[in-house]
Amino acid sequence: MGQNILEIENLSKLYRLGEVGTGTLSQDLNRWWAKSRGKEDPYSKVGQLNDRSGNAKSDFVWALKDINLSMKPGEVLGIIGKNGAGKSTLLKLISRITAPTTGEIRAKGRIASLLEVGTGMNQEMTARENIFLNGAILGMSKIEIRKKFDDIIDFAGCAMYVDTPIKRFSSGMRVRLGFAVAAFLEPEILIVDEVLAVGDAEFQKRAVGKIKDVSNSEGRTVMFVSHNMSSVKNICDRGIVLKQGKHIYSGTANEAVDFYMSEYSDLATADLALREDRKGGTHFRFSQLSIVDKNGTQTSEAISGESLTLKIDYKKLKSLRLDQGFISTVILDKYENIVAVFRSDEMGFMLKDNSPAGSMGSFKLEIPGLYLRAEEYYIRLIAHESRPRPDNILDYIDNAFQLNITAGDLWEIGSPNKPGNSSIFPANYSTV
């Protein structure tokens, strides 16, 4: 117990939904009256869990509920969860931006958040002035900043523009400057929220390296929030999964990512049997499509560069002799450009099924390396009775499945590849 650097106990946060305005003065008075008599807040009882998909049943919602967590020095913790799971709320509470409704946080040393870099920078002031201002906002003293000034300028790569107002900087340079200040803050606990989404590739690499440095060699503790599963796997030792404000899983970073992926496996299956927007489908129907990652778990989020298997179920509605059934699986980007086609005839596969009407079957398509950059893609499924002709379509479904590919680390550089709807192949440069 004694060696924990951060302890969180029964932490909860209640938010009020809707407009704060008309009617709230009376609620405020009501609350105040209840509180002053030592009673419980009359509005906190009606809070429901944070589920954004449903309609709100009450005006209050638990953004976080009963979170317990402890961290040891030098640990890098990844916090994952869907939007609205409470990740940012948790970080906001830890970085003292807002106060919790119940519970307690105990910490040793300085906590610094990179919730958004470059906070409080003034456009009119020069880079030098801003480094001092920004550093002081983050809790550094003047002497400390002066000591690290040259390193900061170096890391940000803007030595030439030290005395230029930052309104003349490009947005990328401003971000770099902000990150540089925060990176040299040397807090005992560093909180990072999706900062990796900004800046160019070179800078991202340095940023990831810095976070690793901070945790490994300097023994500092990092809390890292990201939607990017590969950077969580890469940077973190431990991971926790939040869902609707509750802490539902904790384990190693890899385990947590896998759990998170499988948690959303309900999205990983597309029910196709009842789809009306199809061609054909009278004799033969695709009934289900599911996606399985390299570990055999169902997922809707595949990682770029890793293997992927599509499992497709079908049903024969009427009796049909299939000796050389043709299948084509097409991957399209969100602008409906075809990025990959898997034709069964080219690949030496024919669907053979002479079972009677009403029977079901399935087949799978294995892709050893999914060399597509992180983006949303769509899958189109086509079946023909034999060699494809316009008159022998068995079933044709556009947009059968939305495949979300998250960035991988194909070049093994320690930071995720850029997103985009192009392909990305294993390759390497070298001098000849």
């Binding site: 704060v20 106060a99 910490a107 906590i111 958040s113 002035e129 201002l133 003293s141």
Partner: protein
């Protein structure tokens, strides 16, 4: 969980009524100074006149007041240089009103910083007040310039030893402004209605303060309203100290009342501010 004293930081839902962590404030003193510097420097960045803008505004106000209230309405005391009379009013009023208006929307204007980083929120109001001290200092030098001109040209101006109370005057003016500002900043966060009253209210309040006329010329039935306003006593005393008894009146009771009011308002302000800063980001 037993060794609570080991923790550097303890975050709990509800804090004490008045929770001024002096140790923490001292740690952040560099930030305070940097904010003050930012407030002062950014005002004249990319201007031609630069720091001269600090004195243009009170000079223009003084000129307008001299014309409207001095020459047309003839409200200024006879036999006294109008420029000194109005400049003193404008400079004193300026310290109060900047301390107030600059702080009255603290939470709303700094939402983006407060939403991302923690530092003691009170640093912002304190830096604004410090900046208005600097502003006042510059304007007071301007006043001294006018004063010495009149002393040298032989106009009857009586400067007396009560002038040493200047720091007290400054503390009351800025403290009262800060206190009101803290109260308003807490109110505007939740109920924006108050935002609209700030500018208009300050203007209105100025006419209930002897900025444009000496207290002796205020009609008898209005006297009480004027005297209820702490700023009144300070402006009167300031004029008495630096221009003479024709310009203003010195009353220890008045100053005592003003100081007492300031302490009460400041106290309420700090409590409200302390309460608001914990959760305001959820309601703005």
């Amino acid at each position: 969980m037993s060794q609570n004293n080991e923790w550097d930081l303890l975050i709990k839902p509800r804090r004490k009524w008045l929770d001024l962590n002096i140790k923490e404030l001292i740690k952040y003193k560099d930030l305070l100074l940097l904010f003050v510097r930012k407030d002062i420097v950014t005002i004249y960045k990319q201007t031609i006149l630069g720091p001269i803008w600090f004195i243009v505004q009170p000079l223009l106000s003084t000129l307008v007041f001299m014309f409207v209230f001095g020459n047309v309405a003839k409200l200024s005391p006879a036999g006294l240089p109008q420029d000194l009379f109005y400049l003193s009013g404008v400079v004193c009023w300026g310290l109060f009103s900047t301390s107030f208006t600059q702080n009255a929307t603290t939470f709303i204007t700094n939402m983006s910083i407060f939403g991302k980083v923690y530092f003691p929120r009170i640093i912002i109001p304190l830096s604004k007040v410090t900046a208005s001290f600097v502003n006042f200092g510059i304007q007071f030098l301007l006043f001294l310039l006018f004063l010495s001109y009149h002393l040298l040209t032989g106009t009857i101006v009586e400067v007396n030893q009560t002038g040493f109370l200047l720091p007290i005057y400054m503390l009351i003016l800025s403290g009262f402004g800060l206190g009101l500002g803290l109260i308003f900043s807490s109110l505007t966060t939740k109920y924006r209605d108050f935002k609209f009253t700030i500018e208009y209210g300050t203007q209105l309040l100025m006419y209930l303060t002897p900025v444009i006329l000496p207290l002796t010329k205020v009609p008898a039935k209005m006297q009480l309203i004027f005297k209820a306003n702490p700023v009144t006593h300070v402006i009167e005393a300031f004029r008495y100290s630096f221009i003479g008894e024709k310009a203003g009146g010195f009353s220890l009771y008045g100053l005592g009342y003003a100081a007492g009011m300031t302490i009460v308002i400041l106290f309420i302000g700090f409590i409200l501010f302390n309460k608001t800063e914990q959760n305001f980001i959820d309601t703005v």
